[in-house]
Amino acid sequence: MGVAIFLALLVAPEDSDQGISQRIFYIHVPIALTAYFCFGLGAWKALRLLVRGEERHDLESYVAIHQGTIFGVLTLVTGSIWAKASWGHWWLWSEDQLVLFLVLFLFYCAYFMLRFSLEEGPRRARSSAVYALFGVVLIPVSFLAIRLAEGLIHPTVFTRDGPQMSASMFATFCVAWAAVTLLAYVLYRVELVGKRLDADLHELREILR
């Protein structure tokens, strides 16, 4: 796992011909894609919970969204650094991916607030699941909104050459993507195991009392 990331970082510099700032692309974009994936997974588990009513999906959905939020914050940070390096500003409202991640970040922080202020039980599981589903619908809707707003506030959309990737750059990108996804998966499993252990311990303590 660590080796994969190390390789990606080591391979990346040799084919970055747009200066040092280009290198962050190999970290930033995979992290962003992974964050989307985690939110999607969280919503999928939430849907399973609502349809099938299986308790274990609640924890899985929560853990996936937790990971998604962590990766979302990382996206904001790396994106901000990249923006500073290539355009000279820490924050650009015309960069719609960044704005979208800010909206999502606010949304999923509210998700945690909701979760921690409800009594534990099936009702909390279902309420969080419904909110998680709202989140995954919010992603395309606010993306559309931000695109619309961009045309309104900034008539000249920030034009930037798409990443003209050579084969080796694309390969590096794929390795980095795989590495980040693997990292997310490992973190997901670790946190899930931890939380389950926690829940089991809690149950045991209740029984012993």
């Binding site: 609502l50 606010l106 509210a110 909701l114 202020s117 409800l118 009702r123 619908v137 919010l138 707003a149």
Partner: protein, 212 residues
Amino acid sequence: MTYLTDVSALARKDLKIELRARDTLPAMLLFVLSTLVVFHFALPAESASDAAYGLLWVAIVFTALLGLSRAWVPEHEHGVLDGLILAPCDRSAIWLGKTLATLAFLLAAQVVALPAFALFFASLDVTAVAGVVLADVGICVVGSLLAAMAAASRARELLLPLLVLPLSIPLIVGGVGAAISPDGERYLLFLALYDAVFAVLSWASFEYVVTE
């Protein structure tokens, strides 16, 4: 047909409570008016009217939050919600009734707020008003579901703005766009899309939120 009868009975119940107790609508009216007055002093004297349109949207969203935070209070205070859930009607009818009642309050507040805005700040055209109405529908659709969630939580009124505001960002984009953009129809279409998507989602998921 019984579904619609249930919905209208529930909505009428809320309106009747409001007519007798009068504790939400006057508060909303006073709030939106005083917000507009505060904004007059908050804006620099020579600022463009575009900025005023933005502030109108801030006033609308916060007024809606004020109304929504009171929406489920009568149900919770007297345990009415448990009775409604046990009643032999579709649970989503409870949500629809509440949405319609909240929407009626919000539109009533708007009937006062929009002329006041036009008087104090800048004129509003038909597209802008249509944008306000569509955004009101969106806020009520999402908000009445989230308010039911928040009412069951420990944080109560504190939680509701946190839940609603991120979801209302697309509505504000659409509403402001409808007011100031030359091709406002595009924004109206977007608002209608938002309303439709979230109405279906809330309608389908309300039952999961209120049942134990």
